[in-house]
């Protein structure tokens, strides 16, 4: 029964990892860009939430109302002003620029907020739990996070495959010049995609801030979790990303149970095993 609980916790945290990954997957799908600063942007969102909750006295979960638009705006500006210039066949410029961005964000946050560990308090919901019977219990907050993750991924699917914006994303990613012939301004489409990605990052960041301690240096680890979830799930598939996140969460939970020092290692090993046995991922749609 204890194992069942552990696995359940792992599944729920997998939802958070899937949210880390969804923004990454979206950007790669639309513009073949991997944002090395992605994890640091999640941490940035957490700090924005910190500032919003401190100044406005809101519950962190309500701060989403401010954090999401702020991060979306940052995403639009970032893409339009900096990242659009790096797109092209050469993969060095976007990789190095986003790497530089990662260093800037980490050290900027360090300067502004110091290396102190922070956490946002969401109140009673943090300790509330739902009993499923038979000795199984789930925390209300982790369950909420998972539900939000599923909703976000579902929402992205609908957006991509049922709306005009989604068509614009897919068309621009297929063939930029011909997309222009449809009246689409590539620079604007890419910037919208980044804005959307950072909106998802904002949600992930707020949940991260409420769930655990955070400080400016934890960005790269979130990037790696997101990346592992994307690769395990299969490139180009958003639901696959959810599956990948769940696998990662469960692997980490099992590892932690065996020995607390093995938590991260277990996740990485699960990733390497999937990479070795099924490199295209579990539900691939795109040959990346």
């Amino acid at each position: 029964m204890e194992w069942l609980n552990i696995i359940l916790q792992g599944i729920l945290v997998g939802g958070l990892y899937a949210m880390f990954a969804a923004g990454l997957s979206l950007i790669f799908g639309v513009m073949r860009l991997v944002n090395i600063a992605h994890g640091d942007l999640i941490v940035l969102a957490a700090y924005v939430a910190l500032v919003v909750t401190d100044t406005l006295g809101l519950n962190p979960l309500l701060s989403l109302v401010v954090v999401v638009p702020v991060m979306a705006l940052i995403g639009y500006a970032l893409q339009r002003l900096v990242l659009n210039r790096t797109l092209g066949d050469d993969l060095l410029p976007p990789l190095l620029v986003t790497f530089g961005l990662s260093v800037i964000i980490q050290n900027g946050l360090l300067e502004l907020f110091t290396a102190d560990s922070r956490k946002l308090q969401a109140g009673a919901i943090e300790t509330a739990s739902i009993h499923l019977g038979g000795g199984l219990a789930v925390g209300t907050l982790p369950l909420l996070q998972f539900a939000v993750a599923v909703a976000v991924i579902g929402g992205l699917q609908v957006l991509f495959y049922r709306t005009a914006l989604g068509r614009a994303f897919r068309a621009t990613s297929d063939d930029q010049p011909v997309a222009q012939l449809m009246g689409l301004d590539n620079r604007h489409v890419f910037a919208l995609a980044m804005a959307l990605s950072l909106a998802v990052v904002a949600i992930a960041g707020v949940f991260l801030a409420v769930r655990a301690n955070f400080d400016p240096s934890i960005g790269p680890a979130r990037l790696i979790f997101g990346f592992e979830a994307v690769i395990m799930g299969g490139l180009g598939s958003l639901w696959g990303t959810l599956a990948g996140g769940i696998i990662l969460g469960v692997a980490q939970a099992i590892g932690a149970q065996l020995d607390p020092g093995w938590q991260l290692l277990a996740g990485h090993i699960a990733f390497l095993v999937v990479l070795a046995l099924r490199p295209e991922g579990l539900f691939p749609k795109v040959q990346g």
Partner: protein
């Protein structure tokens, strides 16, 4: 005399160090069909791309409805009413047939062309609307490409080698629809390697040879010999 719809004026165009067009000029009146013929590499596609805005040009090298649009980016020329059916169809592989048509109408320009009208024009497409666009046959893909361009309700339709890679019977089928397209008040520039088809469909013909206009005139008045000479540069 009414102002021409499209005026290309001493257009130069090239790719890096390679110049493809040398001072090309062309006029098109509203409601006209003009054919541009020439051998491979003569610069026909480059001409259409320059008109559509996919290639840079001097500001006054392309005049549309009396306005200089040479510096207008491609995505804004669509809004003005210029649509290109690209060489090789270039349908979006991630989109279905229906979605390819819908994205053509992205801008929502007013006009006679709707999804229903396109289905009337090309009935075979309505059966295949949910299929991935690139899974269709060459001829059907060409129909989707034309339909996609029409969905933007253009005033000027540019067709780049729509017969390329298609069986003659399919080509005839597509060109048979041309009167229905032009009948809606559209002006068309057809780039063709199939000279017979081009002369049958167009009122005016331009022949390009190595980036220059070697011959132009009314389709009915040009002799075979004159066209041969201009085409091959003999």
């Amino acid at each position: 005399m009414p102002e021409p719809l499209l005026e290309v004026h001493a257009l130069d165009a090239g790719y890096g160090d390679f110049q493809a067009l040398f001072g090309v000029s062309l006029t098109l009146a509203a409601g006209q069909v003009v054919a541009v013929i020439g051998a491979n590499g003569a610069g026909k596609s480059t001409l259409l791309k320059s008109i559509a805005g996919l290639m840079p040009s001097r500001r006054d090298a392309v005049m549309f409805e009396g306005a200089a649009i040479g510096d207008v980016p491609a995505h804004r020329r669509v809004a003005r009413g210029i649509a290109l059916v690209p060489e090789g169809r270039r349908l979006f592989p991630s989109l279905t047939v229906e979605e390819n048509l819908l994205i053509g109408g992205q801008l929502g320009r007013a006009g006679p062309w709707t999804l229903a009208r396109i289905h009337e024009l090309f009935p075979v497409l309505s059966e295949r609307r949910a299929m991935p666009a690139t899974s269709l046959s060459g001829g059907q893909q060409q129909m989707v490409a034309i339909g996609r361009a029409l969905m933007s309700n253009p005033k000027l339709l540019l067709c780049d080698e729509i017969s390329l890679g298609l069986a003659p019977i399919v080509v005839r089928e597509i060109y048979a629809r041309l009167p229905a397209i032009v009948g809606q008040g559209l002006s068309v520039v057809i780039v063709e390697q199939d000279i017979v088809q081009a002369l049958a469909a167009a009122a005016q013909v331009y022949c390009l040879q190595e980036g220059r206009v070697a011959l132009h005139g009314a389709a009915s008045s040009l002799t075979r010999e004159a066209i041969s000479a201009a085409y091959f540069g003999v």
